[in-house]
Symmetry: D2
Subunit: 353 residues, 4 copies
């Protein structure tokens, strides 16, 4: 038990996704703040909004900028976000003559949202690989056991005999399509947010789009119009994460049903032990896959409640995003790993000889 | 008050979407069953699985087939779906010599899911037009009031002055992108389902894909591999419906905030009356837009719980889809109409002169 | 397919709850408006706020008041609620000299919310009986098959032998407790709402509490302080409805698992037919029970989003309640009936002899 | 950004509830495992199921038992729960002659669920105090500003003047009732779970109820019949947690609306700073309260999906509980603290003089 199963020392070993945990770790977030401010200072210099000398003074500090975590923490407690305290600390670290080049024209949301986009670059790169690995794991099971006769079951009743290849095809296809979905979505969520205080890029005069283009390029992000209050790309991405866990959930549910005594259409190596019954082999990963699918489905409902960003910035909806998106990434990543692990533990499909 | 606000005589005038109500009306569903069975019989004949004569006998009956609603109703009460009773009635109406050509190789889910796809053709065609109309309504407001100065507000506090064009841009952009999303999604949800009893098209031998291709062509649907247990396309589509209502909800929330006395940055003509206060003009449509957004967000969470179709057919998950998808379509359609109506009632944006 | 499965001609026979459908039918709602206005006029007369003669003039009209549905419908389209049009029609029907006694001091929400409370009286009376009937059905199955040995299964794996009485006890206990919960909750949701335009009963001067007490008495409702913006009683009640469907869902899920071929620990008479496979007997009601449980769980998440009523009346949150609560009642009622029907169809528990 | 905002170093200062974090901390969970096993050994001895000497040998070890966290972690990775590894380590630490007295008759779920109940004792004791503190904070604001005239607003439009006491009453009443709800619910969720492998207490013969009674007494928990598969008490409790955050959300939403420039009916001291605009004072806590309410509402929908525990133990549903309940506790605790803090920062209610 822990506030978050994705981070708890006791339950984390079941739920934790190391990739997501790493991507959203606080010190990594601060590094991304540094990257964003570096890109901003450079772009503002290139666009002639600040002097190259001032920009260099800022980026020099940022190269190894590690503000006191306690300062950031008390900043969040006061401001609701760590960025104002971060920017204040950064300004304090930059020689006074160059201070006005810090955070030039920008606002906290620009830093927070762009840092999120950079975190998603990491998460997505890994999801891509893990979608392929999970698909490969399904293919391998089909390769080995595809010809095995199993009973086709509809509405939980025996219908007509099929082969495992039939059922396996329904496991495989979504994983392949999810990888295509991901490729498409990366273009929209791995995107710079740059808008300034009220989101209209007014702080950079006519150079706003130029600053954005340059920042996008140096950060490896798309540079669309500001998305400070339109979160549809994130909403679509959250749905994708739930589709990923649903693909895993279908596999897990089917395996758990196949592994029932009396059905006996699948055998797993390993499997969970019981504190009371020596003989039991619980299909822990199969169950986990269903849990993660139901978890993400519920979170998706919550995330879409966060799509309503009123006026030019919603503290309410924005914070609701933070509560929900990282756990959904973790569930998706963990689900894909669990698919691979579960399938590699399959020792038999079809009735025992 | 009614079981469904989308159909109630008292509250329906606020919530009802005539397009969705018509598309999902029971008699229309039966007409679609007829279309599916007609396409099936024709395709089976073309593929040489049944005789042309038998197929003609079937399609002749289907031309004006209207089974007794009470028979279908008691069929649903018994079987959980109306299709077995429908097929039985159809067989009874076809001369015995040709009866084996009815529903050849197919299963109830093929008929239900394909009928759903045909309903979505109607819904989607209308959503496309209404997305464009809503976008046009936003453009018109920007055209008229874009230069009006309003206060940019972040975290519900005055930040810096902007023009309405700035805020309006955040209303418009998602609507345009949603229309693109819809165009893409139509290819995946306007799709024939054809699988037979256990979803592997075994009942048509090697002609299954040919039957599917022909049916898709005659019904105007894509003809992908069976999707009887993979519902990711529907899951993605449900998320799209929630994105649509969220776009409306943002507009409604902003308008309601702008219309507050003391803020006075928008004036609406008409507006809802009160039974107690003559002077009030309630921003009814603005509020409705937020309600619909929160409704669809919650339904989306429910719909994604339905993505887990175990084995070859899940009566549980399938029925959960039925509870949720049509109301989501209705909310999306109603939202777009309400955007257009609300914006056409705007009499002023910006402080009164 | 229909916008609402609870009302569709084709799918309704599976989902429809006649008690809820009747309780929330539009004409019944109008009758309740009449009852509320009658009680209000009488109470205002008794408290000396309007003359007895005027009150009698009003209640005389109300005895058979049936305003034109089209008028109410267009009222809702304009005002977001039917009450202003209803009150206008009522005033028009009352002689001018007594008109000021109509809707005295009250506001639309008083009428809508109190009418809801009266609808819940009907729903709850029926849920009470159906909870007892469902419990009785479980008891009967335990009575007949309690000694039957079945395999105790944990994490979907065979664990240790139990008797059906063990499992049945877990079916029965929640139903009994839900009936106790209902008895407690009836006191809080079967409650008069009386607040006037801004919810503080100012329109009745110092007689507001007296008016409320009298109205509560004549309507058979509790008469607490105004609850126009505190909806916790409804939120708790919605959770109760979800607990009820969860109790049914557990039974349905267990029965569906027990009825699997290979497990063979339950046999059902009747059961759903298939359009493709003559031999199948689908456990339609067992599946429905799980569907209804998942449906209500999702709606509960939506209903709790509606708990935030800002200021003195939230058009947004209030309308969100209307979308969600009646379907939850219908799902709960249907679930209890389905429990009774499913259990009465059990022909065997335990392995066949 | 972090996987969990309740635990992140950067955002935790806004979201974290120290009471919940402490109650669910892993080392504390292990201490509770120790308490459960101690109570079990003692009760089994008292009931004559194990020797007093053996029980003492076990409880002696448990007095300072701190199994290697890495062992528990790899146990969870294998078994899905830490208890089998914990019990194995405990057995290894107990002299062989007394080993059979360890975990006598029990199963992992008994330990996990009872440890959860003990954690909830801590959480609930604190929620009780914080509900009272939040109510006191509301009373104080009413005491100071109750007579201040503000505009009563309905459907976000000015309606009629009220005093703040009117609005404040709607803030206060739910908090008082929630404290009563909590008192009632504590009796049902602060409850021993004792069932053994398949939940029927068979492992203790006729002494099962006696063992349970004794354990309940020594642990300070109720000792009802096993609730291994009936989770309605938890489902009701989760709804309570959402009601608590909703009460806070109403206050936060109202304060945020009152603090708008142009409305100016509330002034707050402190408040969040902006990285771009020196003059801004963002109502961070007011927004947080709404976020937490929407978060818990969404989690509640997820938690009720976990109410379906199939057969004698559902690995799926059980794990879904773990993902959701501790964050809901944290949100409720944080919400109450934020209510108190927000209200203590109120410097003015009503228009400025």
């Amino acid at each position: 038990m822990a506030v978050s199963v994705f981070e708890d020392a006791l339950l984390g070993p079941l739920f934790r996704d190391p990739v997501t945990s790493s991507a959203f770790e606080a010190s990594r977030t601060v590094e991304r703040f540094n990257r964003v401010e570096t890109a901003l200072a450079d772009a503002c210099a290139a666009e002639g909004l600040v002097s190259r000398e001032s920009a260099d003074a800022v980026t020099n500090v940022l190269r190894a900028f590690a503000p006191d975590p306690a300062t950031l923490a008390s900043g969040t407690a006061r401001d609701g976000i760590p960025v104002p305290a971060y920017v204040a600390a950064l300004k304090a670290a930059v020689p006074e003559a160059h201070r006005s080049a810090v955070h030039f024209g920008a606002t906290s949301q620009d830093v927070m949202d762009t840092a999120l986009a950079l975190a998603l670059v990491e998460v997505n790169a890994s999801l891509h690989h893990r979608l392929r690995a999970a698909a490969e794991a399904v293919r391998k099971v089909i390769g080995t056991w595809g010809a095995a006769p199993i009973m086709g079951r509809t509405r939980m009743q025996a219908a007509l005999p099929i082969t495992f290849a039939d059922r396996g095809a329904a496991w495989l296809a979504p994983l392949l399509d999810h990888d295509e979905r991901l490729a498409r979505l990366r273009g929209s969520v791995e995107a710079l947010q740059l808008g300034g205080p009220v989101g209209n890029r007014a702080g950079w005069g006519r150079r706003g789009n130029g600053v954005a283009r340059r920042m996008g390029k140096s950060l490896g992000l798309a540079a669309p119009a500001p998305w400070h209050t339109r979160r549809d790309a994130l909403g679509e991405y959250a749905a994708f994460l739930s589709l990923v866990t649903a693909a895993g959930g279908k596999i897990g549910q089917d395996v758990a049903l196949m592994a029932q005594q009396g059905i006996d259409e699948a055998a797993l190596s390993g499997g969970g032990g019981s504190s009371a019954m020596e003989h039991k082999r619980n299909p822990v990963l199969a169950e986990l896959l269903v849990t993660l699918a139901r978890y993400n489905a519920a979170q998706l409902g919550g995330f879409h409640q966060a799509l309503l960003h009123e006026q030019e910035r919603s503290g309410i909806a924005w914070a609701l995003e933070w509560t929900t998106l990282p756990p959904m990434c973790a569930a998706a990543g963990r689900s894909l790993d669990a698919v691979s692990a579960l399938l590699s533990a399959i020792e038999r499909i079809g009735k025992p000889a």
